[in-house]
Amino acid sequence: MSPAGEITVLLAALKSGDASAESRLIGLVYDDLHALARRYMRRERPGHTLQPTALVNETYLRLISDRAVDWKGRAHFFAIAATVMRRILVDYARQRAAGKRIGGRQRVDLDAFMAAASPRIEQLLILDQALTRLAEWGPRQARLVEMIYFGGLTEKEAAEALRISVRTVRRDWSASRAWLQNQLSKPPA
């Protein structure tokens, strides 16, 4: 089956409660989103930031030409895309970290006058691990973090995707954010 057709089917399966559909969906979406992300990175002018939602939207339109996918299917797709975006970033971070160990190509930023605000590789990996742990006892909150932080969804969009109220989203997000931030500020074990 074509990726598009398969995605539609898998979304339907997901909706009817087939959890295994999710990991297959992630695999299908990964390549497309990854390529697209790279294209954006190249096209965007310097100083601009990548719009994760624009990226996800485009992937959605490319992969799901089937209008039969309803809004619930769409919400699922966005949730999955966020997972994929997390994975893209974390994979990249892991590769970089591994490359460093092997190649010994350490980088020093000695620019005394500027500190980059982007998350450092290490922090990203710690966050990823913490998020995985959070998912063990708070799967909804972990999923929400993926959507908002990695997927760039607004609170409202996330609420729609998770089918919970915006107020709940806000509560979950505040707590998860604070908990994760606390994990990040702990000294590495």
């Binding site: 074509s2 990726p3 598009a4 390549d31 390529a35 790279r38 294209r39 990175m41 096209r43 965007e44 310097p46 100083g47 601009h48 930031t49 990548l50 994760p52 990249y92 970089r96 460093k100 092997i102 190649g103 010994g104 190509r105 350490q106 980088r107 020093v108 930023d109 000695l110 620019d111 005394a112 006058f113 500027m114 500190a115 980059a116 605000a117 982007s118 998350p119 450092r120 290490e122 922090q123 990203l124 990996l125 966050l127 063990e136 006892w137 708070g138 932080y149 760039g152 509560r171 979950d172 505040s174 707590a175 954010r177 604070a178 908990w179 994760l180 931030q181 606390n182 990040l184 500020s185």
Partner: protein, 939 residues
């Protein structure tokens, strides 16, 4: 934590976060009671809630665009503190990846120094410190006004235990700002302003390189601009420090994050694990120059790591795309410094400056003949890593070239044993021809014979190319591949005399075989004295990949895809997929993959393939929008999958990008024809013929077009000519056989089709031969050959239909219905992708009719006749359907229309299904009457 506990944490936190801080703490303590662990967890969360952090910024933000993050922690040393008993802190300057930076006063030497602390993780790693010290000793050997002096490494407190000490470095204090800060503040600078800064930086780097010190981390943040007496002094800082931080052992984990700086200036070979060299410093220098004059880095991306990734993938875009007014000398120099191949860059930064000033001799400058050749040899020697441009006698002789250069490239011979080398050779030949063909639009007297189309059995040597195509020049060559290297030998031959005009040998290590195409192409261009602007050269080279493996796989794939004796699609697909595993951003490989799927779709009508084809094709265009061949591939994909108007757009786009692309015209013709725009289609095919009068496909295309439109007398000479040009090509024989079938010359048809099948047994050949037998009412022979055809390709509904007919009219009528049912299944699959395809709908109608389902047959027929592109075949099919459905009066109308549209009267006469009409005397008069009209048309 358990879900229940987490739920409780959420509740307590939620109630606490709305309260004033003091109250919140009490509230949490009260809520958690004896549970001290939960209490401290929630309290820490409340504290985190109040401050900003990583999760407040999108991880996709460009770090250079984001505002500097406010440092939360206080500097280690307050102003006035005495450090290590010798330095008094003046002020805190900032924080870098390595630690903090201060301005301090050296109390012993009474001068100001910069003091940089090292992170505890670095300071506590003994081996790292030792390496750091060696680097410092090395860089202290460099004494140059444009290099920042490094003084010492010390500890504070000087006499305390090593484990508690802060390690720091002292260096020359440079009052001013970094180049990075200047660029951030003022943006790009005029070349005149950039030049003195670049010159000084180059001098500093050159001095260090002379002393054996590689910078390893050159970037604007490591250049201080110090105003002094009205001029700006540029000082390069932090030489060689980067390498010191190769961590040893367990400190790795904590260091990777903190030391992570920008990768934006790092040469591609460093990103892929290579060692730092002068060449990698030259690359960084080129990147800095690029940024200074354009205000942006060549691979600036929207995400922190995007640029580094892109750099691995391909050459830098020209700085003139961002700064159009930039001097061409600058453009050339910058692009040379940024060459992905380290050996093609300047030997040292100073040469870059000389090039900017126009002082260095450039290899692109035309020089007197002999010198120029030597220079080329030198350039090549520098370029292809292990090089032997062998200067044979021909080098010294002046090559006499014809005015009209019609060049034929014979298939490169594979002289190695490697099993995959044959396809590599074919791909390389094809690519070389493709590139050379693109030069046609720059030189009116230059044309390329698309050699890949002629078969080695008929064109054996250069002399044959003159006889067959009127070639005035021929290129022969061989490729020998071993595990370590690829050796390519090229000869330029005069086909009239078979004399060798030039010979050229290239050797590239296996992982650099990409360079072979570039180098051989460059060499041919130079030898033929074709003039080529740098812009067109870049255009031709675009769409490449920096991965040698990806390149090879892709070339092999193209070789298999475009084979005229039948593409080997599955192998081609595998190769393109391999190419994409090596380089997932390789537009040409996506295009090739898409085209392969589309071609396979045409053969199998598998809807999934159509979708795959389109996804890959669109992706290729998304990756590189400016390549003619990518648009061509997408057009072919669209055309093959029924998106005809999209296909037209793509072909028009291709022709705009590459007006010499006759292949686009060929496909344009095919597509217009499918849309029923017959006259325009004919024009397109005629254009191909005028562009390529000695190309078999040009004759075959127009011939097949006339054949399709019932103009058999026009088709025949064209197809005969196509056979002359490509005698061993089964397609032309098949088509000519089809013409003879249509003209009722069944014996001639049988002869051509047997030749076709003998050249290469294809299902189309077998199928048409089966048709010839059917027409001669030799049903058993027809069934035998058609059974072979369905074995070769079980996915063509027409073949099943013919087999059904062979059974039905022969001795096995009971076996016919499953064949028609199979045909219906297949054509419906095709329609699921391309629902408005007139031909498919007409066929569907026919198959239902043959199966005896009138209502379905008539429904499908209605849809077919309502669509665009109704032609003689459609009307003829309609006629049969109507006869089978018992609607004879309407059938008369359709048969008349078919004959009016040029359908062969012979086929009408012979069609067994039309028996009910044949009894009518009108039948004969209709055939005779229409024949006259048909012949009248010809005049």
């Amino acid at each position: 934590m358990t879900p229940e506990r987490w739920q409780r944490v959420l509740e307590v936190f939620d109630s606490a976060r709305g309260r004033p801080p003091t109250e919140a703490a009490d509230f949490v303590r009260a809520e958690c009671g004896q549970d001290a662990e939960m209490c401290s967890e929630v309290l820490r969360m409340v504290a985190e809630h109040a401050r900003g952090g990583m999760l407040d910024h999108s991880p996709w933000d460009d770090p250079t665009a984001a505002a500097a993050a406010p440092a939360c922690d206080q500097p280690v040393f307050p102003p006035g503190q005495l450090v290590s008993g010798r330095y008094r802190i003046v002020r805190f300057l900032g924080r870098g990846g390595m630690g903090e930076v201060y301005e301090a006063e050296d109390l012993e030497l009474k001068e100001h120094v910069a003091l940089k602390t090292l992170l505890p993780a670095i300071a506590s790693d003994g081996r790292m410190i030792a390496r750091f010290k060696r680097e410092i000793q090395l860089s202290r050997k460099v004494s140059h006004p444009n290099v920042c002096r490094v003084f010492d490494l010390a500890r504070h407190p000087a006499d305390g235990p090593a484990s508690d000490a802060t390690v720091f470095l002292t260096m020359e204090f440079l009052p001013g700002e970094t180049l990075s800060a200047r660029l951030r503040r003022e943006g790009r600078m005029p070349a005149a302003e950039a030049l003195p800064i670049l010159s000084q930086m180059a001098e500093g780097l050159d001095a260090a390189h002379r002393a054996g010190v590689i910078h390893r981390d050159f970037k604007p943040a490591n250049v201080m601009l110090v105003p002094s007496e009205g001029v700006t002094r540029a000082v390069v800082t932090d030489f060689g420090l980067a390498r010191s931080f190769a961590p040893s052992g367990e400190t790795t984990a904590t260091l990777t994050g903190t030391l992570m700086g920008t990768l934006d200036y790092m040469a591609p070979e460093l990103l892929s694990g290579g060692a730092a060299t002068v060449a990698s410093d030259v690359y960084a220098f080129g990147t800095v120059a690029y940024e200074m004059v354009t205000g942006a880095r060549p691979f600036a991306g929207g995400a922190p790591l995007g640029g580094a990734y892109l750099r691995l993938k391909g050459p830098a875009p020209s700085p003139r795309t961002r700064a159009p007014d930039l001097d061409e000398k600058w453009e050339r120099a910058i692009l040379r410094a940024l060459d992905p191949n380290p050996e093609r860059r300047f030997a040292k930064p100073g040469h870059f400056i000389q090039a900017l000033k126009g002082e260095a001799p450039s290899v692109t400058v035309p020089l007197p003949k002999v010198t120029r050749r030597r220079l080329i040899a030198v350039a090549v020697a520098a370029a292809v890593l292990m090089v032997c441009a062998l200067a044979w006698q021909a080098w010294r002789r002046s090559i006499r070239l014809p005015t009209i250069k019609t060049i034929a490239v014979l298939p490169l011979r594979n002289v190695g044993n490697a099993t995959d080398s044959q396809a590599f050779c074919e791909g390389l030949t094809e690519s070389l021809i493709g590139r050379l063909s693109q030069l046609e639009r720059f030189d009116d007297h230059f044309s390329v014979v698309p050699t890949v189309e002629f078969n080695s059995r008929t064109i054996r040597n250069a002399a044959d190319t003159r006889r067959a195509f009127g070639a005035t020049l021929a290129i022969t060559g061989s490729v020998e591949r071993t595990a370590e290297r690829t050796r390519m030998a090229l000869n330029l031959i005069d086909p009239a005399t078979s004399r060798q005009l030039d010979a050229y040998v290239l050797v590239a290590p296996e992982d650099r075989s990409t360079a072979l195409l570039e180098q051989s192409f460059d060499h041919i261009v130079k030898t033929l004295r074709l003039t080529l602007s740098s812009a067109s050269r870049r255009e031709i080279a675009a769409g490449g990949t920096s991965s040698a493996a990806a390149f090879q796989f892709c070339q092999q794939g193209i070789g298999l895809l475009r084979r005229r004796d039948g593409p080997q699609l599955d192998d081609a697909i595998t190769l393109f997929q391999k190419a994409l595993r090596e380089d997932s951003g390789y537009a040409l490989a996506f295009a090739g993959l898409g085209e392969a799927y589309a071609t396979k779709f045409t053969a199998t009508k598998e809807p999934e393939l159509a979708r795959q084809a389109r996804l890959n094709g669109e992706h290729a265009v998304a990756l590189n929008d400016s390549l003619a061949s990518v648009h061509l591939a997408l057009g072919i994909i669209d055309s093959r999958t029924g998106r005809l108007s999209d296909a037209l757009n793509e072909f028009q786009r291709t022709i705009k990008l590459d007006p010499a692309s006759f292949y686009s015209y060929h496909w344009l013709g095919r597509t217009l024809d499918s849309m029923g725009r017959t006259e325009e289609a004919e024009q397109a095919y005629l254009a191909v013929l005028s562009m390529r009068p000695s190309y078999w496909l040009a004759h075959n295309g127009l011939g097949a077009f006339y054949y399709q439109h019932g103009q058999f007398d026009k088709a025949e000479p064209l197809l005969r000519k196509a056979i002359d040009l490509a005698p061993d090509n089964q397609i032309t024989h098949t088509n000519l056989g089809g013409v003879y079938l249509a003209k009722g010359l069944y014996d001639a048809a049988e002869e051509e089709l047997k030749k076709s099948v003998a050249t290469k047994e294809t299902y189309i050949g077998d199928s048409n031969l089966g048709s010839a037998y059917l027409m001669n009412q030799r049903y058993e022979e027809a069934a035998a050959v058609l059974e072979k055809a369905v074995k070769l390709n079980p996915n063509d509904p027409r073949v099943w239909r013919n087999l059904g007919d062979a059974y039905r009219f022969g001795r096995r009528p009971a076996e016919a219905p499953p064949c028609f049912r199979k045909a219906i299944d297949l054509v419906e699959r095709q329609l699921s992708v391309d629902p408005a395809n007139t031909e498919a709908l007409a066929n569907l109608a026919l198959y239902w009719a043959k199966l005896g389902d009138r209502s379905r047959a008539l429904a499908a027929l209605g849809r077919a006749l309502a669509g665009a592109g109704v032609n003689a075949n459609t009307h003829f099919n309609a006629c049969i359907v109507l006869v089978l459905a018992g609607k004879t009066p309407s059938a008369w109308e359709e048969v008349r229309k078919a004959l009016d549209a040029g359908f062969s009267p012979e086929l009408v006469r012979k069609e067994p299904e039309l028996a009910p009409l044949r009894k009518d005397p009108r039948f004969l008069s209709l055939l005779n009457g229409d024949r006259q009209v048909h012949e009248g048309e010809k005049k």
